[in-house]
């Protein structure tokens, strides 16, 4: 997740991951491999061990 290995427990879903990390889905975007979602619309699918997850937010920039 976000470029680093993240502990994976059995039956972990995307929504559960966000809850575990205390991330408000409405404030982020999520990529699961090559699928891109607004955080609040991401499907609550079970994650596989080799899934690549990216969770980003908008910040100040030029």
């Amino acid at each position: 997740m976000n470029g680093a290995a993240h502990p994976h427990r059995p039956h972990l879903t995307l929504h559960a991951l966000l809850r575990d990390l205390n991330i408000d889905p409405a404030r982020v975007a999520v990529a699961v491999n090559d699928d891109f979602y607004p955080g609040a619309q991401a499907p609550d699918r079970p994650l596989e061990e080799d899934d690549v997850i990216e969770i980003v937010r908008i910040i100040g920039g030029g």
Binding site: N2, I55, G60
Partner: protein, 288 residues
């Protein structure tokens, strides 16, 4: 001066330029030709005041991985009334075309806008863009429905290729990002402007409003900046000053500059000038 008075002054463009001179970009029409970034401001209050004072209608933001222990600029989406501004997420920090395409797609998911300021910058020291990677990413993103605004060097051949790839604008730098050194190669900007079919937005390196004015005097359609405002002693006042600089440059471009001359040309008629005999100053009309 309060932020309200800055804002009303900047937004109220002169009547002879505003309605008749719309700025069309990506299928939308704007009255302001100043695009402003949201980085480096010391807090949201200062940033909001600067946005207001600038009169800008297009605002850039960045995309970053969530940091679980470092809130950073968290809350930007809540800090600004985004109904007032066209959001322009950038791909800053991307070193390759593939990274930029991925970040653009994440930005679209995060914001709902398909506008993207495309940056492909492998060189962290000078922050100079990769022309090949930028073109490759632009082709992919334009085909994917993005409104692509690529940051590039002032290269006319590249600019035409980006137009052909479907970019909504081309954004040549004035000088490297964050340097505030102004327009270092106006002759190259001229070649980008010559025959451009899409808006040309000078992006990066502007330090003072006269830099922005110069770019628009030459025919650039708009200017994009961040650091010059965010790092000013008074960001709100500098934002207002840049609004005036952009308006002045645009008005001068539309008015058409005089032709430069090699030799002086008096503005007052030489005939009938009151002169006294002076042996030190030969009279050109006198006897040889």
């Amino acid at each position: 001066m309060s932020s309200r008075s800055f804002a009303s002054s900047a937004a109220a463009e002169p009547a002879h330029t505003a309605p008749a001179d719309p700025f069309r970009l990506g299928g939308r029409t704007f009255t302001s030709r100043l695009l402003l970034g949201t980085g480096k401001f010391r807090d949201f209050t200062v940033m909001r005041a600067a946005l207001e004072a600038s009169g800008t209608q297009i605002v850039t933001v960045a995309v970053r991985r969530v940091e679980l222990n470092a809130p950073g600029h968290a809350g930007l989406l809540d800090a600004v009334d985004w109904d007032r501004y066209q959001l322009l997420p950038n791909t800053a920090g991307c070193r390759t075309a593939d990274e930029a395409v991925r970040v653009a797609r994440l930005a679209r998911a995060a914001t709902g806008t398909n506008w993207v300021k495309l940056e492909v910058i492998p060189d962290a020291r000078h922050l100079l863009p990769d022309p090949v990677g930028t073109l490759r990413a632009a082709e992919t993103l334009a085909a994917d429905g993005f409104t692509v605004l690529p940051y590039v060097q002032a290269d006319a051949v590249l600019a035409r290729a980006l137009e052909a790839a479907g970019c909504a604008a081309v954004m040549p730098l004035a000088s490297p990002i964050g340097t505030g050194r102004g327009l270092r190669a106006p002759e190259l900007l001229r070649t980008v402007l010559d025959g451009a079919q899409v808006p040309i937005i000078v992006d990066a390196g502007l330090g003072v409003p006269s830099d922005a004015a110069q770019a628009l005097e030459l025919g650039a359609d708009a200017a994009l900046l961040n650091t010059a405002v965010a790092e000013a002693r008074d960001p709100e006042r500098m934002a207002y000053a840049f609004a005036l600089g952009v308006q002045a440059g645009r008005a001068a471009f539309l008015a058409g500059r005089m032709l430069p001359r090699d030799h002086a040309s008096p503005s007052s008629p030489p005939e009938g000038a009151v002169r006294l005999p002076d042996p030190e100053v030969p009279d050109p009309e006198g006897p040889l």
